[in-house]
Each structure stands twice: as structure tokens, then as C-alpha cells.
């Protein structure tokens, strides 16, 4: 049995965000590629998006009054957890199709799991969020799974 995870909290597993549809532009690819110190011409020129460009494309664009005092946007997909100190997390990304300027892509995020483990210094809560990115044909372009640990 779990100690920290109430049935109400666990019932949020499966919760899904509103789909977000964004346009890929050459300018945004160029900015991302330069800022990441990429050396490949095709990315610096914006002919194609480098891996992880989707992180920038789908970062939440929130208004200023939606940011907390430390400048962070609240992730409305997540429930309130009984532990709040975030520890290092992990990312798993699958790349199914390339991304090019002019592409319209839609992302949907799903809270896929919440579980508890015992760490060396007490309980830890793990949660997983899967983001699927599809094109206008409905084809899967990227699947990204984020795992975060709270203590």
C-alpha cells in the first residue's frame, strides 16, 4: 500500500491536457539552433529542426501574471502533491519523423503514472507525463516521456 498517495491523487492518472497546435518556423528553428551551440548548417539555416526543438515549440506560453515569483509557470496538468521539492528527473524521447519549417504540429500531454518509492532519506513520489506530438495527418512525430521525482 502507498502512504502518501491518496485515492483522489491517484485518480488524476490519465488526465490529459488540451491539445496545442503550433506552427514551425524557420526563424524559431534558427534561434533554437544558435542558442544551443549547434554546428550543423541545416539547423542553423532553419532548413530542418534539430532534435529537442519540440521542447521550445511546446514550452507553455503563459502570460506574465501566470508566472510565480520565481518566474516558473504552473503546470495545470499536475495535481497538488504532498511532496513538493523537485529532484532530478529523466527524459525519454522517441523521434518518429523529421520536423521542417511550415509544419503544423499538435501536442497532447497525459499524466500517465504516479507512484511512491522509499529513498535513503524517506519517501519519494515519482510521476510521469507523456507528450505526443502529431502532424496534421495524425502521424506520430515525437513521443516524449518525462519522469520527475519529488521529495
Amino acid at each position: 500500500m502507498t502512504g502518501l498517495l491518496s485515492p483522489e491523487l491517484l485518480s488524476t492518472i490519465g488526465r490529459t491536457s488540451e491539445p496545442r497546435r503550433e506552427l514551425v518556423t524557420r526563424r524559431d528553428i534558427r534561434k533554437y539552433s544558435i542558442a544551443t551551440d549547434n554546428r550543423a548548417r541545416k539547423y542553423l539555416d532553419g532548413d530542418e529542426a534539430p532534435p529537442m526543438f519540440h521542447v521550445a515549440l511546446f514550452w507553455d506560453v503563459v502570460e506574465l501574471d501566470q508566472l510565480s515569483p520565481d518566474g516558473v509557470s504552473i503546470d495545470t496538468l499536475l495535481p497538488k502533491f504532498p511532496l513538493e521539492k523537485a529532484m532530478a528527473g529523466g527524459l525519454n524521447i522517441e523521434y518518429h519523423k523529421g520536423i521542417f519549417p511550415g509544419d503544423w504540429l499538435t501536442s497532447t500531454r497525459t499524466l500517465t503514472d504516479i507512484y511512491e518509492k522509499q529513498g535513503r532519506s524517506g519517501s519519494l513520489i515519482f510521476y510521469e507525463v507523456v507528450m505526443d506530438v502529431v502532424n496534421d495527418l495524425g502521424e506520430l512525430v515525437i513521443r516524449e516521456k518525462t519522469t520527475r521525482i519529488l521529495r
Binding site: D28, K31, Y32, I34, A35, T36, D37, N38, R39, A40, P50, P51, M52, V55, A56, W59, D60, V61, V62, L67, D70, G71, V72, S73, A88, G89, G90, L91, N92, I93, E94, Y95
Partner: protein, 144 residues
């Protein structure tokens, strides 16, 4: 290039081979541009007094996904046009800071010739040699 050359590229690769290492040093201008490209307003990445005095960090914190991006670049520069990254699994283990010298690299973990795939253990390490972001990449070569 022809299929034959791609095939020979894969045949020459064996477990234990090392990918070229690359040095990165993210200054505060680059760090600001990166977070601006994301719309990431987290003050630990651009507000040095806040990062130090309120959050207790020794400097501006390099955003975790930037290290993830460098892991991809390490593999893509080695692959060239011969293949592509199919998947990556990585984590951010240790915080890193603006102006810190970081090194990306990788080691071939497994070659699966029949599937035209290689598994690569990748890392970002700091100047002390600590692995700050370990990962595993599955790369697929274009042709057999």
C-alpha cells in the same frame, strides 16, 4: 552516399568505440537566449542575485534540457548523414552553472548489425570529471 558505404561504416563500429568529445561553455548571453527561445522565465537562469541569494546556487543554473540537447549533438555530429537518432533516455543528475566547462561524449554500448542499430552510452561531464547528465541513445543507420 551509396548503401555500400553506409554498410561499411556500421561494420567498422564496435562496442567500446568512443565518440569524439566536445567542450561546451554556456555563458550568460547564451543561457538567456536559450531560455528566451523556450519562453522559460525561471529566474535561476538569468537573475544572478536571485539565484545566489534566494536559491543558494553558486551561479546561474544551466537549464537541464540544454544538456540534453548537447547529448544529441554529440551523437548527431558523429553520425553525420549516415544515420539518425531514434531515441534517447537521459537524466540531469548534477546542477551545472554558467561559464562552467562541460564535455560531451559517448561510448558504443552495442552494435546490432541486423537491425542497422547502435546503442550508445552518452554523457556530459564537468571539469571535475563528474557525470552530470548520463544517457543512452539508440541510433539507426540509413541503409544496410
Amino acid at each position: 552516399m551509396s548503401q555500400a558505404s553506409t554498410s561499411s561504416r556500421l561494420i567498422d563500429i564496435k562496442a567500446g568505440d568512443e565518440l569524439p568529445q566536445r567542450e561546451f561553455q554556456c555563458g550568460n548571453v547564451q543561457l538567456m537566449l536559450y531560455n528566451a527561445a523556450l519562453w522559460n522565465g525561471h529566474r535561476i537562469h538569468f537573475d544572478e542575485p536571485y539565484a545566489k541569494e534566494v536559491e543558494g546556487y553558486p551561479g546561474l543554473v544551466v537549464a537541464g534540457p540544454l544538456l540534453g540537447d548537447w547529448l544529441h549533438q554529440c551523437v548527431e555530429e558523429w553520425l553525420g548523414d549516415d544515420g539518425r537518432i531514434f531515441s534517447i533516455d537521459y537524466s540531469n543528475r548534477v546542477a551545472t552553472y554558467a561559464d562552467e566547462i562541460l564535455i560531451s561524449g559517448g561510448v558504443i554500448a552495442e552494435v546490432r548489425g541486423a537491425d542497422n542499430e547502435v546503442e550508445i552510452d552518452v554523457f556530459i561531464k564537468n571539469a571535475a570529471g563528474e557525470i552530470v547528465a548520463p544517457g543512452k541513445v539508440l541510433a539507426k543507420f540509413a541503409n544496410g
